[in-house]
């Protein structure tokens, strides 16, 4: 079996400062990788590099494409990369405003990716959109409402539906539960876990919330100062942290 995503020595510098340094890992089909660390540890930089939003200074990101097998994403032409980004990849932003079109109805938001890959039948697009709203627990009668009329949790769920509608194989998530209150977070996580298992998605999830990775991630990487300081199975890392920083991170979670 070939890994879905193979990351080799990805490095990104901002001038003299290091964004992320020499990060390597393999992501296997159906696997969820969590990346945790404090603010400024380079986890978002790493995610942007992987998703093609930032060009890393060194390293390779090899994705197992459907048609042509493993390809270096960074060496793809821009049309190819954008095509990949709207078919096989999905990117869930922390702030749903970054990932949604706020002036377009919920149905239009979900349908956009379908239309971008050539769907031209209104009835079919709408049916698919309503089906997906149902899967993310948004009532069908909200399909013509704009995202502005939605609560934060609903906006985030809508963003997830919009991303998953074309059946991607790899999802990048940047703090998908940030800014939501805990009960809404719990529902969203439940939903995400269901979708990931159901669709056999692979995902890279960046978060500072250890509860999120505990629930969703199979494997875990802990970052500090741009470097990966520890990685391993989620339960293993969280229950028996080896690196001093990981120990600090795990012990700083408030117990209620």
């Amino acid at each position: 079996m070939t890994p879905l995503l193979k990351v080799e020595g990805v490095t990104k510098r901002y001038g003299a400062r290091l964004g992320c340094g020499d990060v390597s890992f393999d992501l296997w089909p159906g696997e969820v990788m969590g990346i945790v660390g404090e603010s400024g540890s380079g986890k978002s930089t790493l995610l942007s590099c992987l998703a093609g939003h930032l060009a890393p200074d060194a390293g390779r990101v090899i994705f197992d494409t459907r048609a042509e097998g493993p390809r270096d994403v960074l060496a793809l032409s821009e049309p190819e990369r954008r095509m990949l980004a709207r078919t096989d990849w999905a990117f869930v932003h922390q702030n749903p405003r970054d990932g949604l079109r706020m002036g377009v109805s919920a149905g239009g938001n979900v349908g956009e990716r379908l239309m971008a890959v050539g769907a031209r039948h209104y009835g079919d697009i709408r049916e698919t959109a309503i089906d997906w709203l149902g899967r993310v627990e948004i009532a069908a009668d909200r399909v013509d409402d704009r995202p502005r009329a939605f609560s934060g949790g609903m906006q985030q769920r809508l963003q997830i539906a919009r991303n998953l509608v074309t059946g991607p194989r790899l999802v990048f998530m940047d703090e998908p539960t940030g800014g939501l209150d805990v009960s809404v977070q719990a529902r969203l996580l439940d939903l995400l876990r269901g979708l990931v298992r159901q669709m056999g998605l692979s995902a890279v999830i960046v978060t500072h919330d250890l509860a999120v990775v505990r629930l969703l991630a199979d494997r875990l990487m802990v970052m500090k100062g741009g470097h990966v300081v520890e990685s391993g199975l989620t339960d293993q890392v969280l229950d028996d942290p080896q690196h001093g920083y990981t120990q600090l991170l795990v012990s700083s979670v408030l117990q209620v």
Partner: protein
């Protein structure tokens, strides 16, 4: 200063050359928006500064110019632009569509089919069809370059979702030769089928500094959905002056008791028909005589 102090058709030759280069590039890549260094013109933006510059670059002393505004030859915009070129270029002017060699238009295509050798110049307020969907020009240019036009259909989807039908009635987006999506300027969608024409069609946007073009007989397809096909609708009525049932109509409110009449928006077409003896439901007595 006398009018003779200006170069033929107002613009200097260097500027005309620059504009002609943009026009030729536009004709070579139908539907592609060519940037050009738009000049200040002696009229406000929104009055057709783009169209005027394109017309000035196309005019020769032998040309016969016609200018229409919403189909009419006698509105302020049309009259002043026509007079502008009469004074600065000394060109012959006409209101007859078939006699004109260059026609500058705002928001209409003449009813009379255009022929080879004629040039139709459009005044364009916003050349970018994706403008209100994606505000970043850097991004829309990339979308044109990579032919990513899914977003255009999102707009039509929204129309149907909110109004039950594609409610875009003017500036209806079209795809040119299966490649570029183009804003045909705010012509009614009734005119869209006539974008496939024997004439050269040039589009000038002065404020936005863009020129684009359709060479003769270019394939122009109005975007739609399979289950909501494009419908070039018009008012369901005949012209009340000339009785035409196939021309695009303006609705005119007659009084405050609901009285109204429908008249051809193309004044030349209507007048020509009336001169040939056609009459509508509200033609006056002396007209009929």
């Amino acid at each position: 200063m006398t009018d003779a102090a200006y170069n033929f058709a107002y613009l200097d030759e260097q500027t005309k050359r620059m504009i002609r280069r943009a026009i030729l590039k536009g004709l070579a890549v139908p539907g592609y928006q060519v940037p050009f260094a738009s000049r200040e013109m002696p009229m406000p933006y929104g009055w057709g500064t783009g169209g005027v510059q394109v017309t000035a670059a196309c005019l020769t002393p032998d040309d016969v110019l016609k200018v229409i505004d919403q189909g009419a030859d006698d509105t302020t915009n049309a009259v002043s632009i026509r007079r502008f070129f009469e004074r600065t270029g000394g060109v012959a002017v006409t209101t007859r569509t078939e006699e004109a060699s260059v026609i500058q238009t705002r928001h209409r295509i003449p009813e009379t089919p255009l022929t080879e050798g004629q040039i139709l110049v459009y005044q364009v307020p916003i050349p970018e069809p994706l403008r209100f969907l994606e505000p970043r020009e850097t991004e829309t240019r990339k979308m044109h370059a990579l032919e990513e036009y899914g977003l255009m259909h999102v707009k039509l989807y929204e129309d149907i979702a909110h109004n039950g039908a594609i409610s875009t009635a003017y500036a209806y987006p079209v795809k040119v030769e299966g490649r570029y999506v183009m804003d045909p300027s705010p012509i009614p969608k009734f005119d869209n089928p006539r974008l496939e024409s024997a004439a050269i069609q040039l589009f000038g946007a002065g404020r936005e500094q863009r020129i684009y073009a359709l060479p003769p007989h270019t394939k122009v397809v109005s975007l739609d959905f399979e289950d909501h096909p494009f419908d070039p609708s018009k008012a369901d009525h005949d012209c009340d002056l000339c009785g035409s049932g196939s021309s695009y109509l303006d609705e005119v409110i007659m009084d405050d008791e609901g009285g109204r009449m429908f008249v051809c928006s193309d004044t030349d077409y209507c007048a020509t028909r009336r001169a040939r003896g056609f009459r509508g439901a509200l033609s006056s007595e002396e007209d009929a005589a």
